[in-house]
Assembly symmetry: C2
Homo-oligomer: 164 residues x 2
């Protein structure tokens, strides 16, 4: 048996048992966020893998279509991809002829990344695939709930990303 030191564990039980109820884990928002994102990410990756794409490909292509040709630094800050990782992503997109990378004549430190016609077409395809995934991920939610979730998450993300 345990030798001596009869510790009273009332400290632990007093706080947790009745006040928090069961399933503290199951209701922990940070954990829910993690789990939901893991599942969502996995589905996105699987779906995009069917057309030899990765998540970041979409982010870059969509940003290029929205804001036009731009430097990698701009792409980095707009997509949230780290500058160092962006290099690889652009390489992959160039390999697939979806974007072009050329030195900026007005500022030779920069590269101008431009969406190509195939890239634009590819983006349309990715849009469709992501719409499918979105439907899978949000399957148990009504349209109103989906809108709600999107709104809440937007508030969170915007709030935590406004000092760059």
């Amino acid at each position: 048996m345990v030798g001596g030191t009869p510790h009273d564990v009332s400290v632990a039980t007093a706080l947790s048992d009745k006040t928090m109820g069961a399933g503290r884990l199951r209701r922990l928002p940070t954990r829910l966020l993690s789990l939901a994102a893991i599942d969502s990410d996995r589905r996105v990756n699987e779906k995009l893998a069917t057309v030899d794409a990765r998540r970041w490909h979409y982010a870059v292509l969509a940003t290029l279509e929205e804001f036009g040709p731009q430097s990698q630094a701009e792409l980095s800050s707009r997509t949230g991809i780290y500058r160092s990782d962006l290099v690889t992503v652009i390489n992959e997109l160039v390999d697939r002829s979806l974007v072009e990378r050329a030195p900026d004549s007005t500022d030779r430190r920069r590269n101008l990344v431009t969406l190509t016609a195939p890239g634009r077409r590819h983006l349309v395809k990715l849009d469709a695939l992501l719409a499918e995934v979105e439907n899978e991920v949000l399957a148990p939610l009504s349209p109103a709930q989906r809108e709600q979730l999107t709104r809440l998450l937007t508030v969170l993300v915007d709030h935590h990303s406004r000092q760059m």
Copy 2:
């Protein structure tokens, strides 16, 4: 319905949106989920690191308190930690004397993992820390919105985790 907030979606008017409105990236739920989770995870990890803990430590300790002593396989399915990764987590917890791992006499394939008194105390501390993080993460949301978000995420997670 989305009551209140009259001008909510106002970004889409600038560009020629034949296929889709502008800001498709910013409103993509799967992406929002990812970004929110990344931020949340980072904060959780930083906070837990201050007491030499990791995220999974909490999951295991909380599960042990809720369901009592159990095998690693049970812990795995309840926490979502892969069996292979769980080994390391249990090792770390054993090193810190927060749990005990002993062979199950009734089934010698299994290990029975048991929460110790220090483990119980540690769990209380982690609870407090996670409450702080939760406040940071959900800062821009009202209590009602936090409840809403938790509910929506719970629906998602429950729906996608019922094949074990």
